[in-house]
Every structure is written in structure tokens, then in C-alpha cells.
């Protein structure tokens, strides 16, 4: 028996549970907890993100199964609740609770992380002003930030806290019929976006650490985590995040209180364990 963390899938092909064992799947990302594949389910017109939580060989099999099951169900329940309340999240297409997978409706588009990555290096603040394209871009970006704030506000309003609100977990849904951008299609979560991709709807993803909560503290921590994620991307992201907070503050009753709480959280200046 080995006690080392699993290296499954890193060098050896990972045995996926039936019915995916012999299916050609495209691996997108391999996180600490889950592997994400792109495939289709139900029919060829339903692309999905298949999220598989492989068993952890260093954990007792029975305990492992129970934990995985509980996590999957919690994630799926939160997603269904969000969908029912009109919060933009991927649809739960199917769940293999015993086998450790959930299939989520594929969100066509890039991540906010990709947008910010693409934005800051090529458009530094010292960039010669007066270029019309930049002004226009600024406006589109601010619009996007407003939508981020409102999307997070809406999620909080319905009683859900995300638990891992990073810029990679905010997607910008490409409008139907809009031309696919090549860099949107590749890689896992680090897409970059041109001006064209920025006017889509915000979709929240990765609810693996989400909780059903209406606590100001939990909400404020979500905002704090997001703020850190913005700051980590680039200092010039600061005015962008201010716009996120402004829109958030106006998005639901009670948001202003959360913004005040955010100041406390900042002051404590420590990142709360995201595992709650």
C-alpha cells in the first residue's frame, strides 16, 4: 500500500468508469480533485464537460466513496438550485454518483482570467492614449465587469456562496452564431479573448466548494477571493475590480452590507481556508 498522493493520469492512462472506459475523451484539465474532459452525452448535439473525481488510493475505499458521493451531490444540488433561480451556471446533464462523475452542459466561451491575461500585457497603462480602439475596449471591459458583479450578486441573493471564486471560474459565454475564436478552444481555462468575445453573458462554473449560505461573512469571503484573483493577474486590474464591486453593491438588497463586511475581511488580511 502506498500513502503517496495519486499520480493517476499523469503518466499512465487513467481507467475511467463505464461507459467512458473506451470512449475517446479530450482531457481539458487535471486539478487536485478532478479531471475534466470534453465529450458529448445524450446526443451529438450535447457537448459536456465531464468532471471525474478519481478514487484516492491513500484513503479508505469506503470513506473515499462516501466523500466523493457527498461532494458530487452537493455540487450538483447547488447547480440545480442556481439554474432554477435563474443564475447562469452549466446545466447538470447527468450524474454518476457511485462512479464519481458529473456531466455539465458545455459553456462555449473563454474565462475572465483569459480576458484579463489578454488585456493587461498588450495594453499597459502607458499605452499611447487616444487610440479609439482602446477607449472602446475599455468600455466593453467595464461592461463585462458590471456583469461579473451582477452575476455574483445574483448567486449570493439566491443563497449560494461559491467558495472558490477565481477569475478562472467565471466564464464569458460566446453568443450563439458568433465566430469561434481559435484560442478559446484550446487549453484548460487560460483562454484569451479579443474584443469580440467580451459581450457575452457571465456563467459561473466549478461549484465543487460551494455552500448554501446567506451569511455576510461567506459572501464577503467570496468577494475577497475574487479580489485577490484580480490582483494576482495584474495591478491595472484594480479599477476593473472596483467596477465589479460597484455593480455588485447595486445588484440585490443586502449587497451593501456585504461590501462593508469585505472591508473587515480585508483588514483581517488573511485568506480564510477555502475548505470552510
Amino acid at each position: 500500500m502506498s500513502t503517496a498522493p495519486p499520480t493517476i493520469g499523469a503518466t499512465t492512462p487513467l481507467p475511467l468508469p463505464s461507459p467512458f472506459t473506451h470512449s475517446p475523451l479530450t482531457l481539458l484539465t487535471q486539478g487536485a480533485e478532478a479531471l475534466v474532459f470534453r465529450t458529448t452525452l445524450l446526443n451529438a448535439a450535447t457537448p459536456v464537460a465531464l468532471k471525474y473525481r478519481p478514487p484516492k488510493p491513500y484513503r479508505h475505499p469506503l470513506l473515499d466513496k462516501r466523500l466523493t458521493r457527498a461532494r458530487l451531490l452537493a455540487e450538483a444540488r447547488v447547480l440545480v438550485k442556481c439554474a432554477r433561480e435563474g443564475v447562469q451556471v452549466p446545466e447538470v446533464v447527468a450524474v454518476g454518483v457511485e462512479e464519481g462523475w458529473v456531466a455539465l452542459g458545455w459553456v462555449e466561451g473563454g474565462t475572465v482570467r483569459g480576458v484579463l491575461d489578454g488585456y493587461t500585457p498588450s495594453h499597459p497603462p502607458s499605452h499611447p492614449p487616444g487610440e479609439q480602439k482602446d477607449g472602446q475596449r475599455e468600455e466593453v471591459l467595464m461592461g463585462l465587469m458590471g456583469r461579473v458583479g451582477r452575476a455574483v450578486g445574483r448567486m449570493h441573493e439566491v443563497g449560494v456562496c461559491h467558495g472558490d471564486l477565481t477569475t478562472s471560474n467565471l466564464m464569458v459565454r460566446r453568443k450563439e452564431g458568433e465566430k469561434a475564436q481559435e484560442h478559446f478552444e484550446t487549453g484548460g481555462g487560460h483562454h484569451t479573448a479579443g474584443l469580440e468575445g467580451l459581450d457575452g453573458e457571465i456563467v459561473l462554473i466549478d461549484f465543487g466548494l460551494a455552500t448554501q449560505s446567506i451569511q455576510d461573512e461567506d459572501r464577503a469571503v467570496d468577494l475577497y477571493v475574487l479580489e485577490r484573483a484580480f490582483a494576482a493577474t495584474h495591478p491595472v486590474a484594480e479599477p476593473l475590480f472596483r467596477e465589479v464591486l460597484r455593480a455588485y453593491g447595486e445588484s440585490y438588497k443586502g449587497a451593501k452590507v456585504v461590501l462593508r463586511r469585505l472591508e473587515d475581511v480585508r483588514m483581517r488580511g488573511r485568506k480564510r481556508s477555502m475548505l470552510g
Binding site: S18, T39, L73, V80, R84, V92, V93, A94, E98
Partner: protein, 169 residues
């Protein structure tokens, strides 16, 4: 002969699923009786077409029933009853039959046959049997054909699928 669509779900290429849609059905009472009597010639899932939102709605329930069958964990008698059960967002089989299964008053009928590994059942044999047994107008199954059939008010997209995926867990 009835029009039969052969469906293969992604990741389950060796399990054909046969689907037929009928409108203006006049012998639903007889058909339902065959199910109640467990007549072996009538091993189908007979669904009331008004309760099916889209092909995808049906595909989702079929996937679940097939997957649970392959894993040997059906919660009802067989894969056909399981399909009806899989459509329901709750855990009550009788309720599932009442809501999604054929009624004496059904006029839009969906007949689904999942032969699993029985090679004697083919699209052809299903077509012939249903053509003889169902008194009604056979129409090609699909998005368009369902549009005029579904009672949309009774159903809501997305929510249903999500709840279906989660029920019984």
C-alpha cells in the same frame, strides 16, 4: 409497419434503442392493459408524448435507465419501467407511471424498446409489431414532431433535466 428511429447514445454504441411516435392513437386503453398484464410481447416503455419536452429529454432518461441497467442497479422491474421512472423527478414509481406513462386517454404515444443484448429484436421487428398493435398515425420522431405534441406548461426545460439527473440519490 411503423416508422422506427434507431438511437445509439454516445458511449453506449452497442445498445440500439428503438423509438416510435404515434399521433391520434385510439387504442391506448388496450395497449396499457397489455403492460398491466405483463404481456411478454409488449415489452416497451409506452410514454404519453405530451410529457416529453424534446428528444434530449427522452435521451437523458434513456441514458440513466441504460446506465443503471448496465450497472445492475435498476430500481424497478426492468429497463422499460426504469425508463418511465427515470423521467420522474421524484422516487415514486406509481407517480412516474401516472405522469409520464401511457394513460387510457393517451392520443400521442411514444413507444421505446431497448433490447439490450437480444439480437432477435431489430428495427424491423419492432416496426412490424408496433405497426400491427398500435391504432394510430405513425410519425417520424424528432424535435419538430414533438413540438406540436408536448404540453410545455407541464414541463420546464433545464430544471427537469437537472432534477432527473439528481433524483434517487
Amino acid at each position: 409497419m411503423a416508422t422506427v428511429e434507431t438511437l445509439y447514445l454516445p458511449h453506449y454504441p452497442s445498445y440500439p434503442i428503438y423509438i416510435s411516435l404515434f399521433k391520434n392513437v385510439s387504442n391506448a386503453k388496450f395497449l396499457r392493459q397489455q403492460l398491466l398484464e405483463a404481456n411478454a410481447a409488449f415489452e416497451y416503455a409506452f410514454l404519453d408524448g405530451t410529457m416529453i419536452l424534446s428528444p434530449r429529454h427522452l435521451h437523458a432518461a434513456t441514458f440513466r435507465a441504460l446506465n443503471d441497467s448496465v450497472y445492475n442497479r435498476l430500481k424497478s422491474r426492468n429497463i422499460h419501467s426504469e425508463l418511465v421512472f427515470s423521467l420522474s423527478p421524484n422516487n415514486n414509481i406509481a407517480d412516474a407511471y401516472r405522469r409520464f406513462g401511457i394513460q387510457d386517454s393517451t392520443t400521442s404515444l411514444l413507444a421505446i424498446k431497448i433490447p439490450l443484448s437480444n439480437p432477435e429484436i431489430t428495427a424491423e421487428s419492432v416496426s412490424k409489431h408496433l405497426g400491427d398493435a398500435v391504432e394510430g398515425e405513425s410519425v417520424a420522431f424528432g424535435e419538430e414532431a414533438l413540438k406540436g405534441v408536448t404540453d410545455v406548461k407541464a414541463l420546464r426545460k433545464g430544471v427537469i433535466l437537472g432534477m432527473m439527473a439528481l433524483k434517487g440519490t
